[in-house]
């Protein structure tokens, strides 16, 4: 089939470099590298913050997607475009933006300071930075799905007396599961790989804010091969999440 040529090319483009990385790793050194406290701390922090950011993106971005898809308000097109901004903003600049807003001298940061909350250099800052860059993925993915699916079934639910909330839970969400699944995966993946905004806004301290990508970058400064090995750790985590979590959401479809 004519499709196979570009499909295989695309796959090669994605898979070959990653496989190439594998060949660079010295298996003898692997255990020591991966089981170092620095690596384990970073891994743990990455997984936790990644999950929390994904959850936060869902809780905040889900409703936003719904509003964007369903509301007939004017000016929504502009709002939608704004949601995409974190996607194009270089992450470092995104981090700066967060810092300017929520840092000690930022308008919101000063406000928070008065109630004793300081975000920079905390794990919360990591979550915030990840959410900032990753949430648009969820919003865009869900909104697209919400637009194409569901409308007619939601009408049917209303004729059966179901209010918006019940309709949403029992009709909209189940019909949305495949899109939700893939959007969540994208969001989690982006949060997991987030680097620039995190280091700018949250800094990099082992155990508190140094996630795996930060640790990898850090290691790369002195030992590229060790950094590559640590990247593979990230890859394995991502694969696990995807292979374990995704099929449930995506393949249990209609």
């Amino acid at each position: 089939m004519v499709l196979w040529v570009p499909a295989v090319l695309a796959l090669a483009l994605v898979v070959l470099p990653v496989l190439g990385l594998l060949t660079r790793v010295d298996p003898a050194r692997l255990p020591a590298l991966l089981l170092s406290p620095a690596a384990l701390d970073a891994l743990w922090l990455s997984v936790i913050t990644g999950l929390i950011s994904t959850g936060l993106s869902l809780v905040l971005g889900g409703p936003l997607a719904l509003v964007l898809a369903r509301s007939r308000m004017r000016g929504l097109r502009v709002v939608r475009a704004f949601v995409l901004l974190p996607l194009v903003l270089p992450p470092v600049v995104g981090g700066l933006a967060l810092l300017y807003l929520l840092g000690r001298t930022g308008p919101l940061g000063q406000l928070l300071d008065t109630v004793g909350i300081r975000l920079p250099y905390t794990t919360a800052a990591v979550v915030l930075a990840q959410t900032f860059v990753a949430m648009p993925f969820l919003v865009i993915g869900l909104e697209g799905a919400l637009r194409t699916a569901g409308g007619r079934y939601e009408e049917v639910a209303a004729t059966l007396g179901a209010g918006p909330w019940l309709t949403f839970r029992r009709v909209t969400v189940p019909l949305l599961l495949p899109a939700l699944g893939s959007s969540l995966v994208l969001t989690f993946a982006r949060a997991l790989g987030e680097f620039g905004a995190t280091i700018t806004f949250a800094g990099s301290l082992q155990g508190t804010t140094r996630t795996l990508p930060l640790a990898i970058y850090n290691t790369a400064q002195s030992d590229v091969d060790a950094a590559v090995a640590m990247s593979l750790l990230l890859v394995v985590v991502a694969l696990l999440v995807i292979v374990v979590a995704r099929p449930k959401a995506v393949e249990g479809r209609l």
Binding site: G103, R104, T105, P120, Y121, G203, Q206, A220, S222
Partner: protein, 230 residues
């Protein structure tokens, strides 16, 4: 390569330089083209370790200027004889007005101060470790940044009460930050080596540029940006 507009450059010399050399080398490039109107100087500024890795992977460029000897050593087989062309040393930077009243290295260890330094893996971080050890100061930073510019950024943004950066960085920050020199900095002077790359397409020009950097003009420009002379 602003020189490109004046005459048709026939030759290009590609310089791989550490990110901390951005301003000074940009200026050196302009000066060099003034002397050689037919030459265009192309700069690629990145972290020294990334550049070293790229050279190892066969990158064809003419000159490599590293921010430390460690990364130059990684590519020792692939470059000509490295020469030191500048030195640099640490200084404390504080936000304008020095709100936390920091006057010495020991002040950084005082409780309640937010201090940002470089991670030990990068050159400025290893220098930081050295001075801390030498002076017996126990630093508890809020963050160990991956490069010196990030440290400076945090101080400039007011997110840190103080940070340890190179003198050149403090100078580049101008009025946005204030430098507080400290004597222990002498314990860790960082040297910048430069070398021509073995596979250089423009061997002749590479050598010329290297000499130019190490020559009087180079010294003058580098000095203006805060670098010390080796």
């Amino acid at each position: 390569g602003q020189a490109g507009q004046q005459s048709q450059p026939q030759r290009t010399v590609t310089v791989l330089a550490a990110a901390s050399l951005t301003e000074s080398f940009d200026e050196l490039g302009t000066r060099f083209t003034q002397q050689h109107p037919d030459v265009r100087v192309q700069f690629d500024y990145q972290g020294s370790s990334t550049l070293a890795e790229q050279i190892k992977q066969g990158r064809a460029a003419d000159v490599f200027a590293s921010a430390d000897t460690k990364n130059m050593d990684k590519v020792r087989d692939l470059v000509g004889q490295p020469e030191t062309f500048a030195t640099n040393q640490l200084t404390i930077v504080v936000p304008p007005g020095n709100p936390a009243h920091i006057v010495s290295l020991a002040d950084l260890a005082a409780p309640g101060r937010t201090v940002v330094v470089c991670a030990p893996q990068v050159p400025c971080g290893s220098a930081t470790q050295k001075v801390a050890q030498a002076s017996g100061v126990q630093l508890t930073p809020a963050s160990e940044e991956n490069d010196v510019k990030s440290v400076l950024q945090k101080v400039v943004a007011g997110e840190a009460d103080a940070g340890l950066v190179y003198v050149t960085d403090a100078k580049a920050a101008g009025a946005q930050a204030q430098a507080v020199d400290f004597p222990e900095a002498q314990q860790a002077v960082n040297t910048y080596p430069i070398a021509t790359i073995g596979a250089a397409p423009e061997k002749q020009l590479a050598a010329e540029f290297m000499a130019f950097v190490r020559g009087p003009v180079g010294r003058e420009v580098l000095g203006q940006h805060g670098f010390g002379t080796p």
